[in-house]
Amino acid sequence: MSVASVAESAPRRAYPALWLISTDHKRIGIMYVATTLVYFGIAGVLALLIRTQLAAPGNTFLSAQAFNEAFTLHGTAMIFLFVAPFGLGIANFLIPLQIGAPDMAFPRTNAFSFWLFLFGGLTIFFGLATNQGGADAGWTAYAPLSDLAVSGGLGQDLWAMGLIMIGISSILTALNFMTTVFIYRAPGMTMWRLPIFTWEMVATSLLILMAFPSLTAVLAMLLVDRRFGGHFFDAHAGGSAVLYQHLFWFFGHPEVYVMILPFFGVISEIVPVFSRKPIFGYTGLVLAAFAIAGLSMGVWAHHMFTTGAVVNPFFSALSFLIAVPTGIKFFNWIGTMWKGSISFETPMLFAIGFMLNFLIGGVTGVMVASPPVDFQARGSYFLVAHFHYVLGGGSLFAIFAALYFWWPKMFGVRLDETLGRLSFWTLFIGFNITFFPMVLLGILGMPRRVYTYPDLPGWGDLNAIATGGAWLMAVGVALFVANIVVTARRGVPAGDDPWGGYSLEWATTSPPPEFNFTSLPPIRSERPTFDMHHPA
């Protein structure tokens, strides 16, 4: 193996302060994951506040302003501070391990990206501490809802500035990932031997590089409009609110895939291991990832069907097309499980939960890709159900699958299996009790983004059920937290390869040493650790 020139080779000590100045990709990855989980906790509390307010018609638990702030910050935190950066965090931990590299290509830049992400998130929430309150224009901050006249507080500016920081951080991380994968692969680790997770992160990085500059641009323009007398989005002064939507969704739709492609990778790593088979259709899975990434760049205006300002057939056709590579992935996962010796440990349970929930999210997505259906469902709870099935039922379950699967590699101990299974079933049942009623509420015509609603037939009951489900999900998350505490107190060492894993990270110690490997096995396929343990 090539040797790394070590700038500073002092032995690793256990001082917590050293984590703060670490440039080791594993520590940065773990700090990313921990930070995103804290933000997830905050977003979850906001979700419970929202659902408690909506539990009954005419409820006054939250004021309209507080509700607006809660759902704006809930959406922002879930998307920008939890799901997307969790993918970047787990990739930070895994990519160098999976390709046999000693670290990321640019370790200091990597640390800088993490800290900028952390400060960006804090900046967003800092708005709550101002006397004008937090951001309240929704996670999309559509103009003119986000202009000074409607949303005049400093919180909205801090929201935009925080997201600019997160955007820059994400772009730097994506550059780091791509450089690392292209340049620092171990001898024999050709591109077509990369683990599927690493491939998915290459596709995700490409998406970030293509889409995130548009977010930075639109937020800078918004701030110019709000603070420096600009009129980019002011229709009265010759600007265009539709321009905001174009720029925002040119980022926003690919962002959906930034939040899902890493987790397609997670599932593609877990399913073969617990099916005791190689992945079915490796090449197809890789090509499907890039097909999804490419097509996702051309469908932004399906979020704008009802504006009357876009060519609906163009965007509808491309949106339908995305179902094909996504279907290929499902086919390959099922093909992998087919006639496999499947075992149902907690990571596999969450992986299967991901597939079931994401299927509902995907099918409802195909429905709203049709403009006539979208005109009917626009602005209703049907859409809330759809994207929560994609990002909550999909990404969230894959996040838990990833945590249970790679926890032993991160910390050397396995999370408790009984608590894990209990947490899975509580979350799975709770999730569907929360969000399936929203499909029905959407069909009944209940609009989203309202802080209260009249007592119309069915609305109150379905909302009460959804709120009950949300609290059940909170119990599921609490069980996960309890699992961490129990494991930290009396977890037993898991060994280097507790699951019989296939990719290179399972060939090193748990947790891995500084610079990752003391020796590497020969790499002759996409399953080097399996090959090492089962020589032909």
């Binding site: 193996m1 020139s5 440039t23 800088f112 001898p187 024999g188 060519v311």
Partner: protein, 125 residues
């Protein structure tokens, strides 16, 4: 052509095709410019890989390479720790927040950014 280069070239071609198709379907300047800029960015990356880095021979691209084949070759400098990345992030955050709430904070933060960047350069020498 390496896999990475093929990836950028095919993504650029896709951007050009879809940008052209979009223009003829919609005559919308905003979307067309966005798609063409995307293709241009990918083309720049592809061009860099083709012309600037074409001499690079990577052991990771060799199918039959063994772990020992790259032994002894220096592949980079990997720092274990550095205090400056968190400071750089903090000062940039202070600068951006300062733009919103106080020019004095922004100016002070800008000076701090320069100082931290200088420290990073010194450290990396």
């Amino acid at each position: 052509m390496t896999v990475a280069l093929r990836l950028f070239v095919s993504s650029m071609a896709f951007g050009l095709v879809i940008g052209t198709a979009y223009w003829f379907c919609s005559h919308d300047a905003t979307g067309t410019v966005l798609l063409c800029l995307m293709a241009a960015g990918l083309g720049f990356a592809a061009g860099f890989m083709q012309f600037a880095e074409r001499e690079a021979a990577l052991p990771g691209d060799e199918k039959n390479a063994l772990p020992g084949d790259g032994a002894g070759a220096e592949i980079g400098v990997f720092t274990v720790r550095s205090a400056w990345p968190p400071w750089l992030a903090a000062t940039i955050a202070a600068f951006l927040i300062g733009l919103l709430i106080s020019p004095i904070i922004a100016i002070a933060a800008a000076c701090a950014i320069v100082a931290v960047c200088w420290q990073l350069v010194r450290e990396s020498r």
